[in-house]
Chain length 358, copies 4
């Protein structure tokens, strides 16, 4: 993949973030405040509350970062976005709000990076689980069609030109990056289903208080959930061109704050060699600085990716060359959400993909 | 302390538990189901819900224990308690409900072990923090006066004869057991305040969903709270005959499910020896099988008491014999709540203090 | 399965434990000290150290349990075993020591429960990974052939009569109990391999200090290991009559002290119903009090089995009735080691299977 | 405190790190690789091994950072340091090696930041616990006298001019920063001892494998240690001008990877107001961007400082204005070690104190 740095890169970008109260929102705020392009013009933070509140009251851990103590989270209004001449809007809102807000932003010439699932899925049946509705279905269909799925490693050039980038799901990112190289190279026997056994830290469940993300439920525990129906499945099917019969995805809740490890079981079409698999991964990600392909038999582990934008990939092959186990790790709040969004912004602005992320 | 086993011990006891849905309630249910005296006549479980629900739907972890799969949690009614000829009632309810229910139970000849704070405090100002009200203040005052503070190591004979036992708070138990021997022996310089720096696992906060007992708040974290005003302070003052100036208690939230460790700083009146302190503790707890006094310099740690009814005590003395650090550990759901309640029941029934607890 | 309680059950049993210093050994000591049959005649504890050491110096958490503070761990000698008229010997030693010790014990008429892997595997190639040698290969072969694989749910009657019981591996127990009912009922399509993605707490790695069981490695982490070559695989193959091609087992290290959760992926021969699967499990374990089959779609979780001898099983079936996900949970130190050993002892002594385990 | 940015600041600095294999060393490497001044000339990494090893083999988590995959850890030699014209040397070695190496480096005109305790203490009795020896005691005494204690908030101008900076201990940093403002303002009643009850994550114990930093010891646990004799005590005494009678410091081992929280109990000379205390802290740290003074009653917590160079301070005052509780939090590997070292380097090089640290 050639360098994605625009010829017409801008120096800075007037940016706003809606929905900064959650875990991914806080990370996004941190990344933008420390991003070198925003030292002079920090992003505008917006929320659904009626009154402005200091950013550092909401997230005391951000205090001391550049500009952080001077910033407030303002009540959302389109007027403010226009008055501030916002060029790029991050939506870190519930799905339905993002489905509603993106068309309006686009109509005002504001580019959008949506961290919700509202615009990730091209096929309506895959989207059904989110119960989205559109005020103008025809316009929405057009916008949907033009939306880029925000996986820089798969769709870098498209993202660079997109008006609306649908930032991928955390589980989806970890599994798609592990499988895309093998599927593109036609190495996988799809008659035998792929198994993706994925494990995620608790922050993946969001900040709403539920029994399942209470300390007493999650600590010293492990549990499987959404066994045959996790909503990220649609992203896997669309991005990997698979049918439901060809991939089975089971998420588990890990007793850690953040991090995903996916263990992926694949049968090869014909017996392969370690070198073949290694080369397939290495070549696919040769120009992807945020994917670290480990040399087999080294395997990724969650600890190595937490608090980074990296997705780590590693694999081992059975002695007969038929069975492949791939391990994929990332930080669900970063490469699985906020830092991948910043990576997408970098591409859209014509900056180096890794700016502010290392 | 002489053996507390009654001459007129009973073989079994018709027992009921109100409020089994919380963490301490689940532990109490487990202890009673596996208590040898209840193999034939399991306790009656009652709740505030309108309809009966299987005990194991509420607490799947209890399934397979004796009688557990046959039992339901029934809607609370005094009629049921009478019909079932209940002799002893455990109250694991909110404070105000326990304040209301205990007098009624006593009036029906039913003994009560109250796990709430409703009846622990003799002095009204200490009780104010709980905002309790009494339908019949005069009657309540009489009941309060006769209530035993359920610390078997301090008040065993009184508990054995009591109609109402107020089961102590978890922090209070850990601190009181550490200080009582020294204060009774007049070893402590009370001009210099005692510091009790206590740390508790998350279950101490109960099962209600709050930000502070969410996994994302508590994990990988430590925080102090209620610095000058934790509501267990009143128990310390009353049980240890101290003034607010003489003891300072600071609780912290540990990133573990259960367990309390209190680090207690004391100045001695006159320089003491390790032997003096060791003997003071050893003698005080010579007949207390649930307190394990460790030989100095060995110090208790949380891991050794979790899932037990033990309170472990240890200490170290400064070279000049003036400064004493005492470490006290217990499981907040057990010796700090449910198993101490069972220990109290054993005393009240004339059984051996440790029955069902080892 | 009929009741396994012997007609000729004994009242007590002179028992010894070799190797009590590890995590499973400490749990075994705890279980035996609190087992009702051992109140009068506690087990004899033996170790490889040259001098006797107090049991509670080694494991302070055992202090206060019946007899615990009076017991020592003695240097191992066959003379002592004979002098104390030991009838049953637990081996909680390294594999090679257990391979050496068991024939000697049997020759002296002492029954053996071996917690190591020394005698679990009938086929030499499966055993090769443990690098065992035999002083008398012919005698060892005879002993091996007569050794019972100590899975009470699968081999209860054989265990009850055995002289040597090979206590199963922790991962193996969790996977075998999940698959045995389905394989016996011929429900599984073995042309498509079974995937067992298993996750274990750190105690499974034993007490030897290694980088991988250090806090800094394991905490907030998850890692896969031994991907195509975990040594428990042989137990799966032998107990389930499978070939290496038919089952793939991948262990992971969880950031928790104890507990195993295995997620097992199976294709059915022909589309099945939830009822068929549920009935298959329920019937298979109808007389197995230590296996809790959960009603689908309820799934086991680690928290519910930790500190118990239960193995919990649950499952979900894909809408098309072809794909089955089974979740199996147990405590690796208990049902995966020490309490399963005690369960085996109960069978061998003619006591109720669950004695001392609830 | 005026700005500490040199008039003669340099653009870059040839830097070397000895001892990069530990936890603090890995963090130091990460900070230097991502420090803007080192993009062109990455630091030289040296170790005690006989052969060079890739930096990313040692620390796979560093892969992908600027220059990281091209760097090796070379066998230490003074020749290499000279050949590479090293101007600043970080010592992240054992104490005795740092005591030996610093004088040699200084004699070659290389400045030193020592992360060990070798040069922190001016008074020999305080240093005795480290059992240091000097080849040339007279020279060592001179070097010791000129060594700056690397607390930028206390000794910024001295550090900026120093040849040898002794980077403070982690516990010491947290306690000294909490107490220095109050002691300088003479607010503390020193007749009543200060209590510093400190709690640290496991990384504070270093990477050597010990029972106490094994997962099974530390997880779900809390334990006190070194009750009257932690070796950081000397730093408290010297930096705060206190006697052993005036401060008592008790460390505890928290079940988390990183982070320190110190709860500090102080009596005021005369009853004070919240405003007085707040102003005292605010003014003292007005020009200290890496100390965040929280407005009372807000208290720091570990989660807010982990993975940052901040030290957070907060306090609460008793209603009578006599008793003060101060909470101090930092990341023991960063502000308690590596990032404080980088902060010191920034001062020595005349760069902004926070460069590369936000």
């Amino acid at each position: 993949m050639p360098s994605l740095i625009h010829k017409d890169a801008v120096d800075a970008l007037r940016t706003a973030v809606v929905g900064v109260s959650g875990y991914a929102g806080a990370e996004l705020a941190r990344l933008l405040l420390t991003h070198p392009r925003f030292a002079g013009t920090p992003p505008l933070f917006l929320g659904r509350d009626a009154a402005a509140v200091k950013l550092t009251s909401l997230h005391p851990q951000l205090s001391g970062l550049p500009n952080a103590d001077d910033l407030s989270v303002h009540p959302f209004s389109w007027e403010m976005l226009e008055r501030e001449q916002i060029e790029l809007l991050y939506l870190a809102t519930p799905h339905d709000q993002a489905r509603e807000a993106a068309p309006i932003a686009l109509s005002k010439g504001i580019k959008v990076i949506d961290l919700s699932a509202a615009w990730r899925l091209q096929h309506e049946p895959n989207r059904a689980i989110y119960k989205l509705t559109d005020a103008d279905p025809t316009a929405a269909a057009t916008i949907q069609l033009a939306a880029a799925y925000g996986s820089p490693e798969l769709h870098g050039p498209v993202i660079a030109q997109a008006q609306l980038v649908a930032n991928p799901g955390c589980y989806a990112t970890s599994i798609i990056l592990a499988l895309a190289p093998l599927l593109r190279a036609n190495l996988v026997d799809l008659n035998i289903g792929i198994i993706a056994d994925a494990k995620s830290g608790v922050s993946g469940a969001g900040k709403a208080l539920t029994h399942n993300n209470s300390f007493m439920y999650a600590a010293d525990n492990l549990s499987a959930y959404a066994v045959f129906g996790h909503r990220h499945t649609g992203e896997l099917l669309e991005q990997l061109s698979l049918t439901n019969d060809q991939i089975q995805f089971t998420p588990h809740l890990l007793p850690i704050p953040r991090g995903i490890l996916s263990t992926i079981y694949v049968r090869l079409n014909t017996p392969g060699s370690i070198k073949l698999i290694q080369d397939t991964f290495d070549e696919f990600y040769a120009n992807s600085p945020m994917v670290r392909v480990r040399p087999s038999p080294m395997l990724p582990q969650i600890q190595h990716v937490v608090r980074t934008n990296f997705c780590d990939l590693g694999f081992q092959l059975s002695p007969d060359g038929r069975k492949l186990v791939i391990i994929s790790c990332l930080d669900n709040l970063l490469k699985g959400a906020s830092s991948q969004a910043v990576q997408n912004m970098n591409l859209m602005a014509g900056w180096h993909e890794t700016e502010g992320l290392l």
